[in-house]
Symmetry: C2
Subunit: 209 residues, 2 copies
DNA sequence: CACCCTATGTAACAATTGTTACACTATTGG
DNA sequence: CCAATAGTGTAACAATTGTTACATAGGGTG
């Protein structure tokens, strides 16, 4: 049992007894940047609670195409895992650590009773749904209403926001994958953004100005 | 208090006491095809439970562009209303009756306690979230991964499914609005689908073959 | 240093989608 | 019946996005 976790749970306004239960039945999971917490088709019986770091949530279709949905950061939890677990359906999305992250995995089996028993936990779960819903809608806005150059710029700004850094360490190829387009298109539009003075490019790295 | 409602509540596997509460604190709302149950920016303190008919849920952006998300049909409820109400935020989506529909409006205020008190209601709410989440993801798949001709055909099939009819009574203009494109594009692609023998066109009406 | 692999730049072209303009037809209301 | 309006068909063109192909540059390794 980690001090960081204990501290984290204190900060969530959870009932003391709930905190005890969370401590007892959860387990720590450290995950290194780039590896997956949830993979498509991988059934899971635990719900990840993000203590530190961040997870990148992506949707994928049958033929391997994928698209970035949103980031989960400290204090977030994965609403899709919840619904997924409840139906024990296979997930059509993945959650990948963007940076080294610490998770507190809580068993799905407890969820139902905690929601009934602890108002603070109920609030937490509903809040999570609300946030994820909003983020999904924002993702829809991007693909439905915006052109690729706007989507790209928004993507960069989101990434800056999530990482708290002006430097984005990704290749054009990686960005293209997350926006479901091709590398050439991204290179073209990044060059355009650079000409507009919005970014500065380096190898494997983009600076947001 | 309507016989249809009573019947409906019986069929949901709700606890008898919950059914009583739902009957007592809800109210009937009949709505004619084309009118809105929820409009963007309209705050609401009630959650609609669809008894019969169907609601079309659309997302809109700031400059009036919009896109179809999914249908709510008998037995469904609007998860976005729930989260929306809980945060008493303005809704960035609308729900419009596709056909004459009957709703049972339940006060948001009761939700929290019912979720705590009635396992069946808890299940119902989580199930609603799960379904809406899935539908949002499906909507994302459409706009993110499919070309307009596929999206259009999928749209027609969804509509057929939701209405239970092979006839779709919509103009090209209306369809264009729901897919966030232009009338000319829809006319072009519908003609294409007709040539492929997938549909048959008439004025104000399309037959799915 | 030579070699290799990855990342980026760029041109040329194709496919898709969006826009404008106008013709024609069906329906409606006087 | 006539005029007005709404719905559809179609062509021509523009803008955006996708694809292919190849050049160049940076960084690491033997």
């Amino acid at each position: 049992m980690n001090e960081q976790i204990a501290q984290f749970l204190q900060n969530q306004n959870f009932e003391p007894q709930l905190i005890e239960e969370l401590k007892l039945s959860g387990r720590l999971k450290k995950i290194t940047a780039g590896s997956a917490v949830i993979k498509p088709g991988m059934p899971t019986s635990e719900i990840p609670l993000v203590i530190s770091g961040s997870l990148k949530v992506m949707r994928q279709d049958e033929d391997g195409k994928e698209i970035f949905l949103y980031y989960l950061e400290g204090g977030d939890t994965c609403a899709m895992s919840i619904t997924c677990c409840m139906e024990s359906k296979k997930s059509a999305f993945s959650a990948i650590a963007e940076e080294d992250s610490t998770l507190w995995m809580i068993p799905m089996a407890m969820l139902n009773s905690w929601v009934a028993k602890y108002p603070a936990f109920r609030k937490f779960v509903f809040q999570a749904y609300q946030n994820r819903f909003d983020e999904l809608l924002t993702a829809i806005d991007s693909v439905a209403f915006m052109k690729m150059d706007e989507r790209l710029y928004k993507y960069l700004l989101d990434k800056k926001q999530a990482s708290g850094s002006f430097e984005i360490k990704k290749t054009h190829e990686q960005i293209a994958r997350e926006l479901n387009t091709s590398r050439v298109v991204i290179s073209r539009l990044l060059k355009q953004l650079e000409n507009e003075g919005k970014i500065e490019q380096h190898r494997n790295k983009i600076d947001i100005l």
